[in-house]
Amino acid sequence: MLKHNLLLFLRNIKKHKSSFLINLIGLSSALACVLLVYLWVSDELNKDKFHEHEERLYQVLRHVPDGQGSLATYSSNSSLMLTALQTEVPEVEMATAVFEFDTGAMVKTDDKKMTAIGNMASEDYFKLFSYPLLHGSMHTVLKDINAVVISKEMAHNFFGQGNPMGKTLTIKHGEEGVDGVFTVTGVFDIPVNSSKKFDFVLSYKKFLQRRNANNIHWGSNSSRVYALLNPGASINRFNSKMGDFIKNKNEFNLATVFFTRYTDNYLKGNFENGKQTGGRINYVILFSLVAIFVLAIACINFMNLSTARASRRLKEVGVKKAVGANRKVLIFQFLTESIVLSFFSLFCAVIFVMLILQWFNGVTGKDLVFTVDDNMTMALIAITLLTGLASGSYPALYLTKFDAAKVLKGKIKTSFSELLIRKGLVIFQFSISIFLIVAVSVIYMQLDFIQSKNLGYNKDNVMIFERQDGLVDNMEVFLEEAKQIPGVINASYMQGGMTSFNNSSSNHRWPGQTEESKKLTFRHAHVGPEFIETMGIEMKEGRSFINEKPNNESKIILNETAVKLMGLENPIGTRIDMRGPNMEIIGIVKDFNIQSLYDEITPMALLCRTEWVGTLMVKIQSGEEKATIEALTNLHNKFNPGLAFNFKFLDEQYQQLYESEQRVAVLSKYFAGLAILISCLGLFGLAAFTAERRKKEISIRKVLGQSIAQVTVMLSSEFVKLVLISILIALPIAYLLANNWLGQFAYRIPIKAWYFISAGLLALFVAVFTVGSQAIRAANKNPVNALRDE
């Protein structure tokens, strides 16, 4: 029986190649899309899951009122939190504190040097986090103040195949004041699914050593603190108990403490006013939905084509029923066909995925590998079976329901409800396609807007690089020499970076301060004297640092937002207490964006100092970049012999802020393309069948004098109507969702009607083109041939 069914299936394929191809292309590209999304999603969901205790591993976060009526969320904590958790809180089994370097550190031996990303972590770090240790014990690696645990790659780089244990490395980080010789006590590996990547870990004792005791208090938050809770501890109860933990320690502190799962950090890292608001999980959900929709569109093609060409299979059903086949057997036969087709499509999809995986990795910035393990096999089989059943069930039920006598007499008429279902399915397909087109164009427009938005500073032709090694001590000298290079317009430095700026503090004092504005949190950056000029930031009033030498250390410049929120009437010359007593406000700059455009501009203070500075910037003239860069490289090599000059352009770095949006944009572009392609394939098939079904009608109309153009319009309009309805359905939904997505940006494009109109027109154009070609072909046929058939 199965053999017989397969035989029929194969011969049907051979006879009706075009619908087979439409189904195969549709289903296999949809399955490939599902497969890729599956790989991507499982990679996302598996991030950090390798930590042995991940179920009990928590991160300490703080909600702090931002002085403007809502809560800001910080992951940084005071190092006092570590000792407090270890000694006072019985629910905590173990805890660790980590200080992460913002920028790279210089690591060298006598003959080699490299920049590397590192952190400083307290003793239990490797007990909480299961980064596998290739050398050393997790209990002791971080015990010694001069210990360093290095990554496998770093060990290989410095010591080759030799045993690195006990060897020494000189590590220098200007910004953080680390400079010394460290002994390798362990080597770790970082699994691919770790969200954090770093090259070395120093002891937290080193961190505590260089902070003097005055600086360690509940208001100085520079470390991340993680805790391993006891098995069975209820996180909700624990969070409500711990909420006022910091407030109880320090009555002036307004922070509320709470714990979140460490592994949630990656996917659900966004907080708004103290509430979890998603994060990357949104994209996981988004792409899963898109994949399901694309698959649904392909399944719909199968259903529509199968029922539309029912007349071809009905005879078979009738004959088989007449010779004694019951309905169950026939349903089984049709389901077998659709399931076999889906497995065949799966086969094509797998090959396709293997071919494009590298490209996909490029687009998504991942290292996905297609390995067939038990989970994968189960998932694939389940998805494919489901696809087969979903696409085959309606045709199977539909085709087998007719009476043999009626079928064989040719008395079956297409019922109204059947047409309704088929049309409904087409509308569904096109609604999704149109929605995706709108989504893609909105995402692109917003990204374009971000790229071109006036940020309040000029990001063009600014080279940025880290303050490394020789530049730590001789930064000013280097900059003076750099300014002598002909192509260099200006040069300066700053703490943090223009695109990632995290430093903030509160508890500042100024005249006329209100209770509410006491809570104001300020970003404050240490910058060079010519920072404002180099970055092209506009002054609103007052003076910049440039002419304030030698007393510029006691001068401060605020941004407009700060002045407004502080309520200062005549700010220039006012003395305030901020990062030092008695600071004189000498100028106000116009607001500039120093974070991503998701966030509003916050109060900001600029101070003219060299401590904590890690980033140098050089503004160069356009047109002579090559010579200028060469000269700068030579200069850099003079200060840092043997170290590569790793610079970036600020505008590139700025674009990286929106990397995940860029990726979403590129991916959704392909998904939208795929959706509309598969939809059109289906429409193409349907149009062909309609033309065939109405062959006789067309011939009679032509014999009676209707022109080819009229027939074409008549045939096309049936489908155009469906696309028009789809537009009506898709656009309001697209509008709502686009509005919602844009809502998360503080600076966003207004939604304009033409995004929707053009998406609709595009879908309409593609549909008309697809159907029209079929209609013209049908209309051009010689009517005699069709009528002779009778």
């Binding site: 017989h4 086949a325 064989l408």
Partner: protein, 220 residues
């Protein structure tokens, strides 16, 4: 007695009016009969044939087939009954285009749970009996109309039915091909198979032992 129809009525409702397709049909058919149903177009010939073949239901009356009351049987039992005892021959042959002659013959057996070896033997037997061994691997489209109908008859016969129902079996054939098919029916009838055919042709009707004339759903 093979089958018995008592006061069979069949109607459809159209625009509030009841249109009768079959009106008060009473019919007894013995095993071994060869019956021709005649009448003008729309007189209900095919409907009657389908009712007898249990492909179509009726609205009133009683139908006994081999002492079984068909009108009270469940769909499933009815299917079992006709599967076992009735074979159909159609005017337009209704062979499956995608299957070869051999496969077309084998197809009914698939639904009757015969083993593979049994099926092969039965198909070989039938090919032999109808002299079409040479054509067993051809597709219907490669055969003439007469040959196709021959395969149609062979397919109807393959599971040894007691009754063959033929709806204008020669309607699409030329006269020579038609004659061959009718001769075949005659021969089968001589071997003991009951045959009921619907036909327009007086000549074909004469092959039968009895003629039933229908007009507007009524026997006359």
């Amino acid at each position: 007695m093979l089958l018995q129809l008592n006061n069979i009525f069949k109607w459809v409702n159209s625009g509030g009016q009841r249109i009768f397709l079959l009106k008060d049909i009473n019919l007894n058919i013995e095993e071994g009969e060869f019956i021709s149903i005649m009448g003008p177009s729309g007189s209900g010939k095919s409907t009657l044939l389908n009712v007898i073949g249990m492909l179509d239901g009726f609205d009133e009356g009683e139908y006994q087939f081999l002492e079984e009351p068909v009108h009270t049987l469940k769909e499933k039992d009815r299917a079992k009954l006709y599967k076992e005892y009735i074979g159909f021959v159609f005017q337009s042959y209704h062979l499956l285009d995608e299957l070869t002659v051999k496969e077309n013959l084998e197809m009914p057996l698939l639904y009757k749970k015969f083993k593979g070896t049994e099926r092969k033997a039965m198909v070989a037997d039938m090919l032999d009996r109808f002299n079409i061994v040479g054509k067993k691997d051809l597709f219907p489209a490669q055969l003439s109309g007469g040959q196709q109908q021959l395969v149609g008859v062979a397919r109807a016969l393959i599971s040894n039915p007691k009754l063959i129902l033929a709806d204008e079996p020669t309607g699409n054939l030329n006269s020579k091909q038609g004659e061959e098919i009718m001769d075949m029916f005659k021969q089968l009838n001589d071997e003991g198979v009951t045959i009921i055919q619907v036909t327009h042709s007086e000549k074909n009707a004469e092959y039968g032992s009895r003629i039933i004339n229908l007009l507007d759903g009524r026997m006359i």
